[in-house]
């Protein structure tokens, strides 16, 4: 299905990533945006409030993040596409309802413009430390999809993709961007509506008396319905059977929660998008996502000038994790270098898939800034020279850490 021409703000823009994501949501047919202001994500919400009414999208600023995500879930069940926007502390507050959304198999999109944490952290500067939270933040077993764009153009493109994946797999989709990408202003091209592919909602169209809201199709995803159609929906966060009725024995739990997990795990191949470059004969592969992948380009370039065979693997889809790809590469390469703006999150999944077959080097960053490309090239260089196998994750000592911990830091600095 093509996007509706009335939803797409076709043109060439010079806008930041936040605004681009907002325009992407409108193009994808998002008809309700509920949010709560939080730096550095506010511009996306503002853009949708400003432009939304022009394409028939309703906006509401809720009283807190619990409210905004709950309103989004309500809106989806009333039949529209919906999105909420937040950052760090707000994301933490939304965790319960992310699990609720996964349990109800509610297609919705959450844009998280990550900032420095923990707690209030550094609200105005970048971070990538919510990656594990996006996967494991809500209690119980569930799977969802997380995407990490690295430019304003991608913020537009991948917000549309996020909506499409949400509809296709009836699950929450997280756009795990960060302050750098959110506040980066670049050229964004919004194409004509007929160039934008939109996944329609999988509405049930059969006889009302036969409708089972949680009876899956062969791809494990059930057809959805909406309130007001006379189907007598019963939607609950309790473990439920195909009718939606609560059940509490272990057999039913095994059957229904298993499917929540399997509908993502078994469709992984169709969901995962990676960008791979020169990994065929590489000694070292840089695995990165979001803003770090953009910085890594320079690091890789410097290392190549020194004659090192280095490839790059960019995780556009971070969750589900591309296990098979890493397992496959681990057989061929000497080491993986993982720059991320945290003290080790995705790097542990890389190490898990390596099975000790390749060394794994983390280039940490505490946040409030991005990596120095020279650190990345140095890490690549030393990983390429390392001949012995090292167990576990090796931490690369960055220039920043040397300055802070070896020379010391005075308060006035």
């Amino acid at each position: 299905m093509k996007a509706s021409p009335t939803d797409v703000l076709t043109g060439i823009y010079y806008i930041d990533g936040d605004v681009a994501a907002g325009y992407g949501a409108l193009a994808a047919g998002c008809k309700l945006v509920a949010g709560y202001p939080i730096t550095p994500s506010t511009e996306a919400f503002e853009a949708m409030c400003r432009m939304g009414p022009q394409v028939g999208t309703v906006f509401i600023q809720m009283e807190d993040e619990f409210g905004s995500i709950s309103a989004v879930l309500g809106a989806v069940w009333s039949g529209v596409k919906s999105m909420t926007i937040t950052s760090g502390p707000g994301y933490s507050l939304m965790m319960e309802s992310i699990g609720f959304g996964a349990m109800l198999e509610t297609p919705f999109v959450l844009l998280n413009i990550q900032r420095g944490g923990p707690s209030t952290g550094v609200p105005t500067k970048t971070g990538q430390a919510d990656m594990m939270q996006s996967r494991w933040g809500s209690h119980g077993d569930y799977e969802l999809i997380a995407i990490s764009p690295d430019s304003p153009q991608e913020m537009f493109d991948y917000t549309i993709k996020a909506f499409n994946l949400a509809e296709k797999y009836r699950c929450p989709v997280m756009i795990m961007s960060d302050e750098c990408v959110g506040h980066m202003t670049e050229k964004v091209v919004i194409p004509e509506a007929d160039k934008i592919e939109i996944e329609p909602r999988r509405f049930y169209k059969g006889p009302p008396e036969k409708y089972l809201p949680f009876s899956p199709d062969p791809d494990l995803v059930p057809k959805i319905a909406k309130a007001g159609d006379g189907l007598g929906l019963y939607i609950t966060g309790r473990v439920h059977d195909e009718r939606g009725y609560p059940v509490k024995n272990e057999e039913f739990k095994a059957k229904y929660v298993r499917r929540l997990v399997d509908k993502i795990r078994l469709n992984k191949d169709k969901i995962i998008e990676l960008k791979e470059e020169s990994t065929d004969d590489a000694d070292v592969v840089v695995v990165s996502y979001g803003i770090s992948s953009r910085v890594a380009v320079k690091g890789v370039e410097i290392a190549r000038q020194k004659g090192i065979k280095v490839g790059a693997l960019r995780l556009v889809t971070v969750w589900p994790f591309p296990d098979e790809k890493i397992i496959d590469l681990a057989k061929k390469v000497k080491a993986f270098v993982v720059p991320e703006i945290n003290y080790g999150q995705i790097v542990f999944d890389v190490a898990r898939c390596c099975h000790g077959q390749a060394n794994v080097v983390l280039i940490p960053h505490g946040g409030a800034g991005v990596h120095n490309p020279l650190d990345i090239s140095d890490a690549i260089e030393s990983a390429a020279k390392e001949d012995k196998k090292i167990e576990g994750v090796v931490e690369f000592k960055t220039r920043l850490e040397k300055i802070v911990f070896e020379r010391g830091l005075k308060f006035k600095e």
Binding site: E63, S68, A75, G79, A227, L231, L233, R238
Partner: protein, 296 residues
């Protein structure tokens, strides 16, 4: 309640004679009976009153979404044959706001308890009232957290016992009609489960009202509140309501505090007009292309 439960079981086990069905079968999920509520609980009465009010108000049940949170009253959504949403603790009003704003053709009814709506969901309650979202909120108040076994609630009267106020509740309770009134609700009433006829009329009236309406239903909790406070069983509570309720329509909501075993003032306290959220939204955005939405 007991009598009703037996009747329900009879319907399930004995094949009914032609034309003999439960009078509310079209509005209840009979395949989910028997329900979980204890003997002497008043929630069933509140549901019966609501179902009768729906018929009385003559609203198309297909266009109603009933949203509950967590707790004993949170289970109501699951027993009513409407589009039912059993949401997370405290969030039914926010969830309902999403339904109503995204699809104004749907009438939202939030049916939940005092803990769900006034404690954990208190913020959503006052803000939905302030916005005047089109929504009927039925708040069943049994003065206690019953689902978890009798803990103190924001409505527990001063000095009443609960498992987490074993020396008597030291916190003054909320006066729900007063919060609703001062936050901007357009319709506020309070009844007990003894006043079924008046409750039905009030719910029917509130269902037809445009804007944020609140009906508080005082309900006996024989298993926890009455037992812990030695107030007898459900029937004793009903007798207490009979002897101690005073009906004062139009009473200033400031005067509606409920103390431990004191007089309970019931009635319709607020009935006024104020533009609803969607009315203002449509009016102010009518100049913007695509700005306004059709209301049901």
């Amino acid at each position: 309640m007991k009598a009703k439960e037996t009747k329900t079981k009879e319907i399930q086990s004995v094949p009914s004679k032609k034309g003999e069905i439960h009078p509310m079968e079209n509005l209840l999920r009979m395949d989910r009976m028997p329900h979980i509520w204890c003997p002497s609980c008043g929630i069933g009465l509140a549901v019966t009153a609501f179902a009768s009010a729906l018929e009385k108000a003559n609203i198309d049940p297909d266009k109603i979404s009933i949203v509950s949170g967590i707790g004993c009253t949170g289970r109501v959504a699951g027993y009513v044959k409407l589009d039912s949403f059993h949401t997370t603790h405290g969030r039914p009003i926010a969830f309902g706001t999403g339904i109503r704003v995204a699809n104004p053709k749907i009438k939202v009814v939030v049916f939940s308890g005092d803990g769900d709506l006034i404690a954990i969901g208190g913020n959503h309650f006052i803000h939905a009232a302030r916005r005047n979202i089109d929504m009927l909120v039925v708040c069943v108040n049994n003065f206690i957290y019953a689902m978890t076994g009798g803990q103190v609630a924001p409505t527990t009267p001063l000095a009443a016992y609960a498992t987490t106020s074993p020396y008597g509740c030291v916190e003054p309770p909320f006066n729900i009609p007063y919060i609703a009134d001062s936050s901007g609700a357009v319709y506020v009433a309070r009844w007990t489960t003894l006043h079924i006829r008046r409750l039905i009329n009030s719910l029917a009236e509130a269902l037809q009202k445009k804007g944020f309406s609140v009906v508080e239903v005082i309900s006996p909790c024989g298993m926890y509140y009455s037992r812990i406070n030695k107030l007898g069983d459900g029937l004793d509570m009903m007798k207490f309501y009979h002897d101690n309720v005073e009906i004062r329509h139009g009473e200033d909501t400031k005067n509606l505090d409920i103390g431990f075993q004191t007089k309970i003032i019931c009635g319709k306290f607020v009935d006024r007009e104020r533009p609803s959220y969607m009315e203002r939204y449509n009016q102010w955005l009518s100049g913007v292309k695509g700005g306004s939405r059709d209301e049901g």
